[in-house]
Structures are given as C-alpha cells and as structure tokens.
C-alpha cells in the first residue's frame, strides 16, 4: 500500500510536455519530462526553427541560399561551425561526406519543384566540376566557393539542430527527453524511470515494421536508407543518396545504415557516408574510429551487421553478425 502511494505521488510529480511541429521539410516531435519541460521544449523548438531559416538550401532568405548565389559571404557562427565541421568530416570519411553535392542533387531533381529524372552523362560531368570540399575556402568567418560549387547541408543540419536542441533542454535542467527530427532520434538522459529508451529501426522493405531495436540513453540515433526517397525510371530505382565520386546514387550493397553517437552532427553525417562507403569500407572506418560511434547495417540481402560496441544494446528477431573493432 505504501509503495503504491509513493509510486502514485512519484508519477503525479513528473510533468510531461509533448510538442509536434514542422521544420527542415519534415515533422518533428519533442517529448520532455520535468517541471520546466514546457518552457524547455518551446525554447528547443525555436532553436530548430532558427537553424532551419539559416541553413535551408531552398529558402531564399537563408545564409546557405545567399552563399550559393553570391559565392562569397561572411556567415554567422552556426553556419561557419557547420561548414568547417563538414570540411573536417569530408577528410575523415575519405570524401564520402560532401556538402558540395548540391549541383548533383539538383540534376537528379531531388529538390522541391523539380522533376526527378536520370541526368545525361554530360550533365553529371558538368555538375561534378564543382564537387569536392576543396572548392570551399574559409578565411576567418568569410566563406568563398569556387564558381561551380554550391552547398547543401541537408546531410548534417538536422544532426546539428538536434544537438543544439538537446543542449537547450539540458540547460533547462531536463534529464529525460526524447526527440525525433524527421526520424533522427535524440535521447536526453534515460526514461523517467531510469530505463533505457527503446528506439526501433525501420525495416527498409516495409516501413511500417521494424527490423530491430536499440536500447540507448543520452545519444543520437540516425538512419540513412535508399528507401527514404527514390524514383523509378524505366524499371530502375534511383534513390536520393548520391555518391559524389560518381555522381550517381550510391550502390554499395546496403539498404540502410543506422549510426549511434553522443555527437548528433557526427551521427547524421556518418549515416550518409557509411551508406556511400558500403559494409567493407565502413568496417575499416569503424576500426579506426570505434570510440566515436556505433552502427547497424542492413545489406541488400537483408543481413544485419552490428558494430561490436552495440551488440549488447541491439535486439532483433533475426540473427546478426558483429563487426569486430
């Protein structure tokens, strides 16, 4: 009886605030627990909307849009931080993560108002002229782009936004919250009862189902998969993750890659780049950087590979192989 009373009073003390909103061309949810949760969630939402206006590639008032037009601009601190980080990640991932992909994404028609189509070889070669982070020059807070270069931060902006939002929630004293920024999941602390959060990974073949579940606390979980956006032409499927080395959709034998990290920005960028690299190269990358992240790979033949540091937090009805450190 006493236990029940304590339990009941414990629950009633814990207030919860949920919020659903639209930013960065997707739907986002923030669920936070604690007495200041309402103010904390509203502040986090404002921060995400602010970053959306700054980093959007299609909003004519964003810094990235203006930089792509003018090719030289003094940018704000957030934009500078992200472009600098993107250049570092370009080097770290051996050019697999590349924010200069904009001309290629445009050719393939993966922007609002454009028609998806397979570009001509000539168009791809032209687009590739400006691709590569070596075409971005940074001096103090001025960013200069080469003539044929344009930036798209779509592969990293949501990660950066969830990191900033998580920091704000923590500043408000929130110790338990869960966010989803269009499928980029971020946990702040653990569940209110101290348990791990349970994050399902979408089954690439049937998006209404899951292929497994990760138990996490205070980490970001980001998935990149060809199934998230694609079009069909002449019976062939073309997805949205473009390999900037070839100019064509990455064909590396993977259906999806899920990255777990304390660093949301890294998790976002790596999910795309490991997808481009494929399983073998990703395994080598993991062995060199296993303190930074963990990953779950789904191959084209539906095999699951899980990095060693996640093998105890991942559960699936299907068996899986472990990527050794």
């Amino acid at each position: 009886m006493t236990a029940a009373v304590i339990l009941t009073s414990g629950c009633s003390l814990e207030s919860k605030y949920d919020c659903e909103f639209y930013a960065m061309d997707t739907v986002m949810t923030i669920n936070a627990y604690g007495s200041k949760s309402e103010n904390a969630v509203k502040a986090a939402q404002n921060e995400i909307s602010r970053l959306d206006k700054l980093l959007s590639v299609q909003n004519e008032n964003s810094e990235i849009f203006k930089l792509n037009q003018s090719k030289e601009m003094t940018v704000s601190e957030d934009t500078l931080t992200l472009i600098t980080r993107s250049k570092e990640l370009y080097t770290l991932t051996d050019c697999s993560f590349d924010i200069t992909c904009e001309p290629l994404i445009r050719e393939w028609g993966f922007y609002s108002g454009l028609e998806n189509r397979v570009p001509s070889q000539q168009a791809i070669e032209n687009a590739l002229k400006g691709v590569g982070a070596e075409h971005i020059n940074i001096e103090n807070s001025t960013v200069t782009l080469d003539e044929n270069t344009s930036l798209d931060l779509g592969g990293i902006a949501k990660g950066y936004a969830s990191q900033k939002a998580a920091e704000i929630l923590k500043e408000y004293g929130i110790t338990s919250a869960l966010m989803s920024l269009g499928g980029n999941v971020r946990a702040v602390g653990s569940k209110p009862d101290g348990e791990y959060w349970s994050v399902a990974i979408t089954n690439p073949d049937d998006n209404a189902k899951s292929i497994g579940t990760l138990k996490i606390s205070d980490k970001a979980v980001v998935t990149s998969g060809g199934y998230q956006r694609y079009f069909e032409e002449n019976g062939q499927i073309y997805h949205h993750i473009i390999d900037t080395k070839t100019g064509y959709p990455a064909d590396s034998g993977l259906k999806s890659v899920t990255v777990v990290s304390e660093d949301d920005t890294l998790a976002d960028a790596l999910s795309t780049s490991l997808f481009v690299m494929g399983l073998e190269q990703s395994g080598e990358f993991y062995r060199e950087n296993n303190s930074l992240f963990g990953a779950v790979f789904i191959t084209d033949s539906n095999e699951i590979y899980v990095t060693d540091n996640l093998k105890d937090s991942f559960m699936s009805e299907q068996g899986f192989e472990v990527v050794e450190p």
Partner: protein
Amino acid sequence: MKSRIWIIIFSVAALLCLGVWLFISNVSSPSRVVGIYKDGSLVEKIDLNSVTGEREITLSGEYGDNVILVSNGHIKMKSADCPDKFCVEHGELKSSSSPIVCLPNKVVIKFENSTDGADAKTGAIKCIQKN
C-alpha cells in the same frame, strides 16, 4: 431450501467469474486511442475500440484534402490529394512507432501510447517531395 442456497452460491460465483474476466480482458486489451494531428495541433482523439460503423474525416491542407477512414479497431488514410501519397500507401495504422504521416499536408495519425514497446523509430519518415 437447500437448493435455493446452492443457486445463490452458484449465481454469486458466476458473477464473480464474470467480473474477474471483464477486469482481465479490460486490463489486457491494449490501448487503441489514436490522435489525429494537423499542423502539430490535435484535431481529434479516437478510441478505435469504441468506434461503431464507418466514419470519414476530411482535413484540408496546402495540397488539397486528406480523407481518413475510421472503423472499429481500424484507421487509415483512404485518399489524399498530396503529391507523394506515402500516407495512403502506409495502409492501416498498426503500431505507435509507425505513425501515418502526410508531410505535404502536415497531417499525422498516431497511437497516443506505445503499442509495440518502442519509444521512437529511426529513419521512418520519408522526405517531403513537392512536385
């Protein structure tokens, strides 16, 4: 006289059994309360278990109408004027970690409580495509 006592005992026992059965079935039946959201605001909460007959709910957005079909235990997007139709392709709402989402028209249909033990799902949401 004796048989009347037995009838009363049996009746009480039968009622108790019925009560216990009702209690258990009520506790063990999963929560089927669904929320329909437009632009992030709740439009309506529906307990799918208490729906009788069929009902259509029409919501209007930037890309035309979304028609939601509700029947006992079931909810789905029947039709939509949005360009991608991912919400219609989704079929019936089956689990809390896979809400029905129409990004162009900003409509979300989801269970209010976890139905599958997961707190969130990664990678589920397809990107917006405005053609």
